[in-house]
């Protein structure tokens, strides 16, 4: 008896197990199993219609590895909608979320820069500290300029020291003046003085 290849019925809407449809993946973002949620978030890479669902999941997700996957997928979109929605979480009470969001925003060089002026003017100095974290890793030609402006103008010493730390890896001797001026603006802050002394001595090659 000859072998007869059995033809499996293929409905047009049928989805193979390897490539579940985006809708199924979006439902899996709410699965009780964190590993299912994480794999779904990663599999939604590049799926524009999943952005809203991913933004919601980023807000409610408590499992760090799932949240990181969600933010990684969202960051690839690099749109102002995504960046604006994520930036709200820089003020989160959840330290894991605000730090992960800062890392994600730093990987979005097309859309994050449009948010920077508002973030630099945020009344909450903790948000401005987080903004310095974003600028430390943001691959954008204006990042250094924004950090210098924070050092020169921000009214809170913790923001200034965060900006100095972010600037240091790319600072040159031309930044020595703005660093030393920061010490004069906050004469009672020993940590700021230490930071500037360390930075300036390194920049002018006398360390």
């Amino acid at each position: 008896m000859g072998l007869v290849r059995k033809q499996a019925p293929q409905a047009p809407e049928e989805v193979s197990p390897e490539q579940p449809a985006a809708e199924a993946l979006m439902r899996q973002l709410d699965d009780p199993d964190p590993e299912v949620r994480r794999e779904a978030a990663l599999a939604l890479d590049g799926v524009t219609e999943a952005v809203h669902a991913l933004l919601i999941r980023a807000t409610v997700e408590t499992e760090p590895r799932v949240r990181d996957a969600v933010l990684t997928t969202l960051a690839v979109h690099d749109t102002e909608e995504v960046a604006g929605a994520l930036a709200v979480h820089l003020a989160s009470d959840d330290p894991g979320l605000r730090t992960a969001v800062a890392e994600a925003l730093a990987t979005m060089p097309r859309s994050t820069p449009s948010l920077i002026p508002d973030l630099l003017a945020a009344p909450d100095h903790d948000i401005r500290v987080m903004t310095a974290m974003v600028l430390a890793d943001l691959p954008h030609p204006e990042a250094k300029t924004w950090l210098v402006r924070m050092i020169a103008e921000d009214s809170h010493p913790n923001v200034v020291t965060a900006a100095i730390d972010a600037l240091l890896p790319v600072a040159t001797s031309e930044h020595a003046d703005v660093l030393e001026e920061a010490v004069h603006r906050f004469p009672g802050d020993p940590f700021l003085r230490f930071t500037v002394q360390t930075a300036v001595s390194r920049l002018v090659g006398t360390a």
Binding site: P95, D126, T161
Partner: protein
């Protein structure tokens, strides 16, 4: 290692900001402590699994593993360090200190911390463990 360094209390300073690490390290070293550094929570946990520290000084906002998660990991069964933990952060929102204490920290301080205060606190906490600086 000399006998001097062997008897000095050993502190791990955990902060992603290089200048903060240098600042806290210099203060504690001048205060008589032996100091190691870690740039994030993961590095800290790895260090704690191979070295018996007498004190941890931990930042909150760090990449890879934030300070609260780091402290929880240090207190977990895997690491299980009994050493005191001081968390130091720029954050002074309501509830931040509670988060630190729930994670297992002994003390929560807001930056900037005066140098003599940090050394004094470190001395008190390590002396309670019988390893005065």
């Amino acid at each position: 290692m000399t006998s001097d360094t062997a008897t000095r209390p050993r502190v791990l300073v955990v902060d992603d900001a290089a200048t903060v690490r240098m600042y806290h390290t210099s203060l504690l070293a001048e205060g008589g402590f032996q100091v190691d550094e870690a740039a994030n929570g993961l590095e800290a946990v790895e260090a704690a699994m191979t070295t018996a520290y007498d004190l941890f000084v931990v930042d909150v906002n760090m990449p890879k593993m934030n300070g609260y998660a780091c402290v929880e990991a240090l207190r977990s069964a895997t690491v299980g360090t009994p050493a005191p933990v001081v968390m130091i952060s720029t954050e002074d929102r309501p509830g931040d200190a509670d988060l630190a204490y729930r994670a297992g920290a002994n003390l929560y301080l807001v930056k900037p911390v005066a140098g003599d205060r940090l050394v004094r606190i470190a001395g008190m906490l390590t002396a309670q463990r019988g390893v005065p600086a």
